[in-house]
Structures are given as C-alpha cells and as structure tokens.
C-alpha cells in the first residue's frame, strides 16, 4: 500500500462539511469548523497529543481547489487558433473546464506508527477512546458523521473518507512513538552529561555515568522521557 512505509502510516482524510449555516447563527458550518480548529491553537497542547503513536498530524478546512491558470492548448486545440472557421466562443468552449469541489472539506492528515500490520483500525479506535469529545466537536458538521457513535463506527466513517496518498512527513523514522521520544530524550540528556562531566578522572566519570544511566533508565519507556506533543522545556 502506498500509504504505508515500514511501520509508519500516512493517513489522509477528506470529510465533506455540510452546506449551510449553523442554526441561529450567521456562520457557515465550514467556517465554524475552522473556528473550532483555531480554538485548539490556543490550548496549551493539541488534543492530538493524547492520541497514542501520533508522529505528526494536521487539520485544516479546504474551501476549494485552486486554479493556477487555464491549461495551454495543444493540438488540435491550437489548430482552432488559426482556423478562420472556428469562432472565439467555440475555441474557448474547447478548453478544459475549471474544476470545482462539490463541497468544503475538513482535511485531517496524520502520520503514525501502525506496526507491521498497518493497523489503521487500532489507531482510530485509540483516537476515539482518547479524544471522542474533541472529535465530535470538529467533525460534528460533516456529512455522515451523525452515524458515528462509537470507536467502531468512527473507524468505519474515517475509512470511508480516506484518500490513498503518500504524504509522509520526513523527520520521523517508523519506530513506535514512545521509542522515538525516549531516544530524543536520551540524546539530549547524554549531550548534557557529556558537557558537564568531560575531563573527569575515570573512576568519577564511571560513577557519574552509572548514576546517569540509573536516572535516565534507557530501557524503560515508562521512565523519564519527553511526553507526546511536548514542544518546550517546562
């Protein structure tokens, strides 16, 4: 599958947002969704930090496709240009039409650790279990979401909206998230250890190193580490 690379999974979801205005308010559903997403930006951390194994994800509202320019004509289009029998209207009519989206979409893309079996269902179940209230808040105005009432129906809904892509975020390997966070933590702590202990006599260095290893517990993923979504030192 193109959206799987090793143990990593690139999920891209386009959920059509209902047309029309939120009842009693002068705001379109799509704009209300965008507004809710902006609310998330003001939180200390994204609700998605609570979803296990998420490497990187993104939400946005897609209003329409963007047209770069009219496609240039090719044979036989350009033959019309010099044919005196083809009217201007006909020539224009032969150009490809501009594409428009049928509706506005909530786009959700996530790169996550899916394991050797590309377990999308497991990820979506965990997501529902972790942040179902937030999911309802963002997806609530999307077509068909009224059928979602559980982890299983959420997973089924997302898979219906899924688009197969290869949109991977380069900057993460495919190890489980806790492993990666621990590795980053160890790298930083070790750099600090090296800086503060350089030049010490061997015995002292050994003693400090043992203390260091005991403290950072390299094998213990539940021990000291970075927490998911953490983007600054406390």
């Amino acid at each position: 599958m193109a959206n799987v690379s090793g143990n990593a999974y690139a999920l891209t979801v386009l959920s059509p947002i209902k047309e029309g205005l939120v009842a009693g308010k002068e705001i379109a559903y799509a704009d209300a969704v965008r507004d809710r997403l902006y609310d998330w930006n003001e939180l200390d951390n994204s609700p998605m930090a609570k979803v296990p194994q998420t490497y990187l994800c993104r939400y946005f509202v897609l209003d329409d496709v963007y047209v770069q320019s009219l496609p240039s004509g090719s044979y036989p289009d350009n033959r019309y240009d010099w044919s005196p029998y083809i009217t201007d209207g006909k020539r224009r009519g032969s150009l490809p039409a501009e594409d428009r989206l049928q509706s506005r979409y909530l786009v959700f893309s996530s790169n996550f650790h899916a394991g050797p079996n590309a377990d999308l269902d497991g990820y979506l179940h965990n997501m529902w279990d972790a942040i179902s209230d937030d999911i309802r808040e963002v997806w609530g105005y999307c077509y068909g979401f009224d059928r979602v009432s559980s982890a299983a129906t959420f997973a089924a809904y997302i898979k219906k909206c899924q688009l197969e892509t290869t949109l991977f975020f380069v900057g993460s390997n495919d190890d489980p998230l806790p492993e990666q966070l621990k590795a980053l933590f160890l790298k930083q702590e070790f750099a600090r250890f090296a800086a503060t202990n350089q030049g010490l006599p061997a015995a002292e260095l050994r003693k400090n190193y043992n203390e260091f290893i005991t403290r950072v517990a390299p094998e213990d993923l539940n021990g000291p580490s970075w927490s998911p979504g953490q983007y600054k030192f406390d």
Binding site: A191, A194, A195, T196, Q198, G199, F233
Partner: protein, 542 residues
Amino acid sequence: MNKKLELADIQGNVLRAYGRFGYPAARYVCLNVKNEIRGRDFIAAVTERVTTAIDWSTEDGKKLKPNWTANIAFSYQGLRKLGLPRASLVEFSPEFSQGMKARKDILGDQGPSAPENWDPVWERNGKDFESNVHILITLNGLMPAPVTEDANGMQEAREASLEHREQAYEWLLEVVKEHDDGVAVLGGHCGANGEKFDYQDADVLFEDGMPTAKEHFGYHDGISDPVIEGVPYDEGRVEGRGKLLEGGKWAPLATGEFLFGHIDEAHEYPPAPRPILLSRNGTYMVFRKLHENVGTFNAFLSEHGKKYPGGEELLAAKFVGRWKDGTPLVLAPNEEKRKAFQDKLKEASLEEQERMLSDFSYEDDMSGAKCPFSAHMRRINPRGSLEQVAGEVPGSMIRSMKGENEGAFDTPGALANRRRIMRRGLPYGTVSDRTSDKGNHGIVIMMLNANINREFEFVQQQWINYGNDFKAANDKEILLGNHNIDGKSPSKAVIQVDPESDDVPYIVSDIPLLVETRGGDYFFVPSMTALRLIARGVIDPT
C-alpha cells in the same frame, strides 16, 4: 576573467573595504528627509562628492584617491520620502521594505539584542516620520604613508586620518546646512558613558602605535571577503575568496550575487526594481552595530581554556577557525605550525600574504578536527564543504558529491555560492576594562548582497543561529550566535577531533551571549547613475 565592471558607476564602498586601502577612520551619519524636493537637492550636492570604485592603481586612478571618501545609501522609507514612483518602490524586496527591525525574529535579535535595547537613533527609527532613518552617509579618512617609520611618524599619520575624517564631516555638515529645509541629521548614537552623538565613529584598532586588523576580542577580522568577476584590483585574490571548483581550483563569484543588473550564480539577473537604471550597479547593504561583551568573552574563554586540553590560545582559535593573528587553523592546526606559518608570512609580499591567509578549503578537514563546524569562519563561509555526510569511521564526515558519494551536487560550492556576503566594517569604541562588558565597543559591520533574504538573512538564521547544515544539530556559531537570549536555554558547541585518533571531542557548554545587536537597518546603495536620477526626481519605471 574578461568581464569588466563600470567602476566609475559603482560606489566605492561596494567593491572596497576602505580599511584595507588606507582609510582607518570611519564615521556613519544618519539623516532624515524633511522635504522631498529639497531632499533631492541635497542628494545632488552629495553625489558630486561620492567616492566611486575607480581603480586607484592606474596612473589616472592614483590622482583620484581622495583624502576622505563619502558614500550614501537609502532605506526604503528614504526612497519613498524622496519621491520614487510607487511602481519602482513595490519592486524592492519585501525584507528591504520592512526594514531590519521587522525581521528581528528571523535574525534572532531578541533579549538583549532586541530593538528596544538599540541605540536611540535606531530604536526610534520607524516610530514617527521625523525619526525615520532615511539616508546613511559613510565617511572614511585616509591615513597617509608615515613620513618616518617610527612611532612618531605613525602617530602623525594616524592623526592625519582623523583630521581627514573631520574634514569629511565638516563638508557633510556644510551640505546639510545648505539644505536644512530638506534634511536633518539624526542624533542618538551611544557613546561609552551614556552620551549621545550625531554620528557613529569606527576606527581601526592600534596596538603599540601600529594599526591592526583586529577587533575587540583580539582576532584578525575580515580576511576572506568574496571576490567577484570584473574587479581588476581583485584579480590576484581569488584563492579562498571566490568559489571552489572541482579539483580545488577557485574562480570569482558571479557579479550578480552582489550587484544588480549582472548575471548571478543561477545565470539569472537578481530581482531588482525597475527601471534598470535605478538598480543596475547598485546593491543592498545590511548595517549592524554589534556590541562585543569583552568581559564575558574573556571570562568564558579563560574558564574553558583551563579545561580544554589544547589550552586557551588554541581554544580561542577554535572559536573562529583562525589563531588570533589570523593564521588559518586548517593550514596550521597547532602552535608549532602557527609559528612556522607566521615566519613565512612575514617574509612574503603583501599580495602573497593575502593569498596565504585565504587560500585553503576544508577538503582535508571534512570532520572538523582542525576547524570546528561551529567556528565563525566555517559557518560564515563553508568553502565548498557542504554537504557533508557521515563517513565510515564513526564521527567522520565526507563530502557528498555527484558520482563520488551519491550526492546530488555537481560542484562543491553548490550549497554555499549563493549565500556569500561582502563584509565592510570596522571596530568602534575602546575597551578600558577587559573584565567588563560595559561601555560602547564592538563592530560596525556593513554587509552587501543582492538578496538580503537569500544571503544575509539565511546565513544569520541558518548558519549562525542554527547548526543543521553543518550536522551540528542546534549548536550556534560560537561568537555571533544569539546564545541564551531568554536566559534559560544556554547553548553548547562541539570542538571536533580527528575521528581516527583516541582524542575526545571537547564540548564548550553554557556559552553566554558574546555579541549583542545595538542597531542597524537595511539600505539600498545605488549606482552613481541612479543617484543622479534620484536627485533629479526622474526615475521612470515605465
């Protein structure tokens, strides 16, 4: 090299670092334009006396070498105030029209370097129409050849250079006075004891009565400035200053990296405002007043110098990539070789000295064992050493090149040739107490480039304040990096060792903020032709 630039159309400070040409005393004056028409009259009067880049080594050129030089540059607001048409204004680059203050997050001018801590003349810039820095005039006084070789002779020559600077300033004040309904000098340049001046002076530092090329930390500065196509007096200085070609040869950089209206390294004309007569032979100038925390630097160097196995002097050299006397570490990585290099240097002709100090690359130092990856010189000018990738020996680096190591680049300079900056600058102020940061001393640096964003801002953001391109994670350049600006995230840098040896890399930890920004802005340095057109008010973009 058969390209010849129109030297009489280019302002002299663009192609010359005046300090190197016998002008050790500089003065920088900021002006505000009060009235468009009278402001243009002022420009016309100044233009009469602006120093060009004409070749002073020819018979005719010798006669034209002035006792003092004058050059002029404009901020975006200045060009606007002088009545440039909107159609031309909108074609200047966004970063130039925003000005340096607005770019503080990109430049890392935060904490002590933040604009609110700048000298009043720069701090007020942009706050109201009367305080806007519209024009920057730079003056330099010539030091004549000393009549006698002794200290007295040198002292007399030095005084003559200061006298020349005063003459230049008197001339400027006279022209300002004649146009005082059009322009005003902006005061508020800080002195050592809180006093405010109408100008910023910068002076070559003298040691035992002799001029040096040093700045206040004690390093020789400004050695490897870029050499471009078409400058007759730079033809013998290409090695180490141009661009590195495959096989270790050097060629001058494309003129368009630094001058509008000429082809650049991408074989394109750099984006520049229309009409072409406004931009051609002109460039952008980044002006920065940088305070040096001498006391902090000395304490920091001495603290780590005690722990660093190579000792304090070598560590000081590792910070910069050169020993304090200018000897490149790549050519002389230890004290013994430094001495041998200096002995040879003293015997060499001036031209040969220039070549010796700059003719090297990092081909034999890809792992940073001689010149560390976070050293000033390597960060500012990587000399074709990017992009490096991990070699087989742990800790080693090799260059990634097409055909050799599966790299994507077909020339060693691919990642560096478009990030070069011409540096013009001199130290300012004096250090009375080498254990204190207080006072007013540092470097006034002017950097010239055709694209502020691609060249200066990129180097500042990615190579000075970040280390990823050098495989140095987020380690900053040791001297100029904006270390610990928030007071709680001290930075470190690694002094690499030969990966084949048993030596241990040294980590320079808790690097304090050594250099602070005290002011500056982005300027446009027009050609002589453009100056005349601006003065006439006839810039026509149609």
